[in-house]
């Protein structure tokens, strides 16, 4: 009888599966051992809303859902270092930009009674119930990037303001360099709250301050690939496009490359590209004096400090523990600021 080898002989496959299973189990046990909660952490109960009751935090859970963004690694690194200065260990989630995964991870932390949770909700309404459960369990809940009804404190950014700063700067440039005329394309995002706020701030500020500039496109793009292909298409129809504004630096950088590939000189005086975030490639382009002229930037060190200090302030019972992290517009000539931001991102 001829044996049909669907795979290797079954004994080998069994051996492989046995080894794989054993290795996976051993790895899981080792990882579990590495992350086992310390006794001090479990005994540290903070009453988030009770001002005046001072508690010592030993653990903070930092839930930043957009793990695919470079900012995530920077924030985790800086926040871990900031926490370590106070003998606090920083826990993180791996939500991979998925709201369902985020909810699961947050529920796990609440049930494990992680004493302080700093969370950036992807869907604020959906997180309200989890935040309430956290407070009911005596935990500290800090909302990142907005406010919830149930929370101990929040860390605010005003994404609207970031968009507004960029829109105003671009409008002022259009007024000065193009006599208030020209063509603009917006690379936007309408899928999450952060994106909608940035988009609204950017478009409202620009159209209000530069009413003579034609808006020729509003395209969804948050990453450089999409920014590049959308900008290429817009440029095919409007080769005289002057301005591309992005809700992220990544998308705007794609637009920047599309313009260059269409033959625009990197220092063209009648072109303006701007984005938001303060990401390294964009900051370098601004510093080099190209037509990538502005970025509404957050300083990662400021955010990392807030991630640790706000829950500590709540635990210490301080009044008004919330924080507002400033967004600043970085433009050509802000060399010291650009260097500082690049150093934080390195």
């Amino acid at each position: 009888m001829t044996r049909f080898p669907q795979a290797v002989p079954s004994a080998s496959r069994r051996q492989f599966l046995a080894w794989s299973g054993g290795t996976a189990a051993a790895t899981a046990l080792a990882l579990a051992g590495c992350s086992a909660p310390d006794a001090g952490a479990t005994s540290a109960k903070a009453t988030g809303t009770a001002a005046g009751s001072s508690k010592t935090l030993t653990r903070i859970g930092f839930d930043y859902p957009f793990t695919q963004l470079p900012l995530y690694s920077t924030l985790v690194k800086l926040s871990t270092a900031a926490a370590k200065q106070h003998d606090i260990s920083l826990l993180t989630t791996s939500d991979a930009g998925n709201a369902d995964t985020q909810a699961t991870n947050l529920n796990t932390w609440v049930s494990q009674k992680v004493p302080a949770i700093v969370s950036f909700p992807m869907v604020f309404e959906a997180t309200e119930a989890i935040a309430k459960r956290a407070l009911d369990a005596g935990l500290i809940w800090v909302t990142y990037g907005g406010s919830l009804e149930h929370q101990s404190a929040d860390i605010q950014f005003s994404f609207l303001e970031g968009g507004t700063l960029l829109g105003e700067a671009a409008a002022q440039w259009a007024d000065e360099q193009l006599g208030g005329k020209g063509k603009v394309a917006f690379l936007t995002d309408s899928t999450i709250q952060l994106g909608r706020e940035r988009t609204k701030g950017m478009i409202d500020a620009f159209t209000k301050n530069a009413p003579g500039v034609d808006v020729v496109a509003q395209e969804q793009a948050i990453d450089p690939d999409t920014g590049l292909s959308k900008s290429r298409a817009v440029l095919a129809k409007h080769p005289d496009l002057n301005i591309i504004l992005g809700i992220t630096d990544a998308a705007a950088y794609g637009g920047f490359k599309a313009l260059q590939q269409a033959g625009r000189k990197a220092t063209d005086a009648r072109t303006f590209v701007g984005g938001q975030d303060g990401s390294a490639p964009s900051l370098l382009a601004i510093k080099q004096g190209t037509f990538y002229r502005a970025s509404a930037a957050l300083a990662p060190e400021d955010i990392a400090a807030a991630v640790v200090e706000v829950p500590r302030a709540v635990a210490a019972g301080k009044a008004n523990p919330s924080a507002q992290v400033p967004i600043t517009l970085v433009q050509r000539g802000d060399t010291a600021r650009i260097d500082a931001l690049l150093a934080q991102n390195s």
């Binding site: 920077t74 496109a217 298409a233 817009v234």
Partner: protein, 327 residues
């Protein structure tokens, strides 16, 4: 002697061949109709600059779609191409930008990384018989994690030498388009003219029968996994060169579904055993033209998503029912 008649087909034969091509690839008709509508509504769709943009955007998709199509024809699947693309771009960018290696070394490094991912997929699926769907889905996540762990921060400024890969022109054609054309040609010739190409179909139709016919049912799909990994990494290196930057978390995200869509739209059966490189080319062009046309029309975001989804379903339905209706 029949050489002359085969070399110079009559106009009637040409027309018949054209009709046959349309019957076999109904997507061709849909594509032509779509191009016509976009040209009439935008007035600039067929401009040379726009067509060049579509071709450049579609090039990386085609480079990965061809080997993936061969893999699907042989009855396997690779869902890890999006992460492999990111890894390839990062390795190439790191070598060119931070290690100051020559562009050739950078690209070879990327290809090696892609080959390694493909080899792991191939060993697990072809030699150990694990499910390609599960294995490559796992690799999609694992390779993305590895890429983010190795390169947590964006890489940029790879130098003018490396920019050649994505920005230069060869014989008047953009380098990525030229490379994609070579890949398409190689894929078509491989399928049509080589014994291994026929083995791909044989394995996809019935693996047991192929084995009993003396076909090595492990080696060919294994090689296709490796080639798919290499192609994805090459596409990543091209994208890194075009953008002069790579971000581990977002580069190539969702690419696996786009490329699989192009392959399936092109008439490749997910169950294996049938498909053509010409069909894949049509699938790639269909997606590229659709995306570009909707952007030119300035269609609002959510309407664009609805239109894209509807067009894909319509295209797939026509690809499925078309040949049956025209029989």
């Amino acid at each position: 002697m029949t050489t002359a008649t085969t070399a110079l087909p009559t106009p009637r034969a040409l027309a018949g061949g054209g009709l046959t091509a349309v019957r076999r690839n109904p997507l061709l008709m849909v594509l032509a109709l779509m191009v016509l509508v976009f040209q009439l509504t935008t007035g600039s769709f067929l401009d040379a600059g726009n067509l060049r943009g579509i071709a450049t955007d579609a090039a990386t998709l085609a480079i990965v779609a061809v080997p993936l199509a061969l893999l699907v024809i042989s009855g396997y699947l690779d869902l890890s191409v999006g992460s492999t693309l990111a890894l390839g771009g990062l390795v190439a960018g790191w070598l060119a930008g931070q290690q100051h290696q020559s562009p050739v070394v950078a690209v070879l490094g990327a290809l090696a990384a892609g080959a390694a991912v493909g080899a792991v997929n191939g060993v697990l699926c072809c030699y150990l018989g694990l499910s390609a769907f599960i294995v490559t889905l796992g690799m999609l996540t694992a390779v993305r994690g590895l890429a983010q762990q190795l390169f947590p921060l964006p890489l940029s400024s790879f130098g003018s030498g490396f920019a050649w890969l994505g920005g230069s022109r060869i014989a008047g054609i953009d380098a990525p388009v030229f490379i994609a054309a070579l890949v398409l040609l190689a894929g078509a010739l491989f399928l049509a003219l080589t014994p291994a190409g026929r083995h791909v179909f044989a394995i996809g139709v019935n693996r047991e029968a192929a084995y009993l016919s003396g076909v090595n049912i492990r080696r060919t799909p294994f090689a296709l996994f490796v080639v798919t990994g290499v192609a994805a990494a090459l596409a990543g290196a091209i994208k890194a060169s075009v953008l002069d930057s790579v971000v581990a978390g977002t580069s190539g995200a969702g690419f696996e579904l786009t490329v699989l869509t192009a392959v399936l739209l092109g008439g490749v059966a997910l169950t294996g055993g049938s498909g053509s490189v010409f069909g894949v080319l049509l699938g790639v062009l269909f997606l590229g033209c659709l995306q570009n046309g909707l952007t030119l029309l300035n269609v609002p975001t959510f309407w664009q998503q609805m239109a894209q989804g509807s067009a894909l379903v319509a295209g797939a339905a026509l690809a499925y029912f078309g040949p049956r209706l025209t029989r």
